[in-house]
Symmetry: C2
Subunit: 129 residues, 2 copies
């Protein structure tokens, strides 16, 4: 495995990309442990800065991300997880991807599920990457 | 324009994605000024954390990025620039994209140019996003 240059907080940004549609699904962060768990299990794991712990994407919603390939950039300080998005979508808002709007606010992605039915009511904010 | 939630340093991560191939080209950062310049000119501008200033991608190499669309994520704290990559490639190493290797070190992208012929010799390191 290439040596990854984590930042002062021990993190790197991770871009999750759909391996089939090539859509950018979300951006989150990972530490070495999260990367190791991702490689070992074949499912995307990240580090939640707000919760201060590793999380498996989809552990609550079922919308897990099966790893197809992990890419590393020139400086070894950013990763791309190319994934097969399982379940109904990547975004905690219910859209298929977090990047569902243009900078002008136009919605350009499909709403796949009602987040109120998936996540516990008071826990929604925490589900954001 | 949507309000963007910049971090404590006034920055957001920006994922540059090829609008045609949908390949993720690079990750860099932007402040509000860089976003404004990008919108106003139609060419990708970023903020260099190492140089402490805004830069137009390709200003030296000619490998500019023509903006097709800018996407904003659910939390309004990450952007995607969907671009047409001009010139020979996005990465200062000469590869078509910064994510040219898998985590195991396998090269999975094409080398498009010799960076020694494009960038000034002592300035290479600075050209990384």
């Amino acid at each position: 495995m290439l040596k990854i240059n984590f930042d002062d907080n021990g993190l790197v940004p991770v871009i999750a990309q759909d391996a089939d549609s090539m859509e950018v699904l979300m951006l989150a962060y990972a530490n070495q442990d999260a990367v190791n768990k991702t490689v070992a299990t074949g499912y995307a794991h990240y580090y939640s800065r707000s919760r201060g712990k590793i999380w498996k994407k989809g552990e609550e919603s079922g919308n897990v991300q099966e790893i197809v390939r992990i890419l590393v950039d020139c400086d070894e300080d950013t990763l791309v997880y190319q994934v097969r998005q399982k379940g109904k979508g990547a975004c905690h808002t219910g859209y298929e991807k977090c990047f569902y709007r243009t900078i002008d606010g136009e919605v350009v992605a499909k709403k796949m599920f009602d987040p109120g039915l998936i996540y516990k009511k008071n826990d929604k904010k925490l589900k954001s990457p």
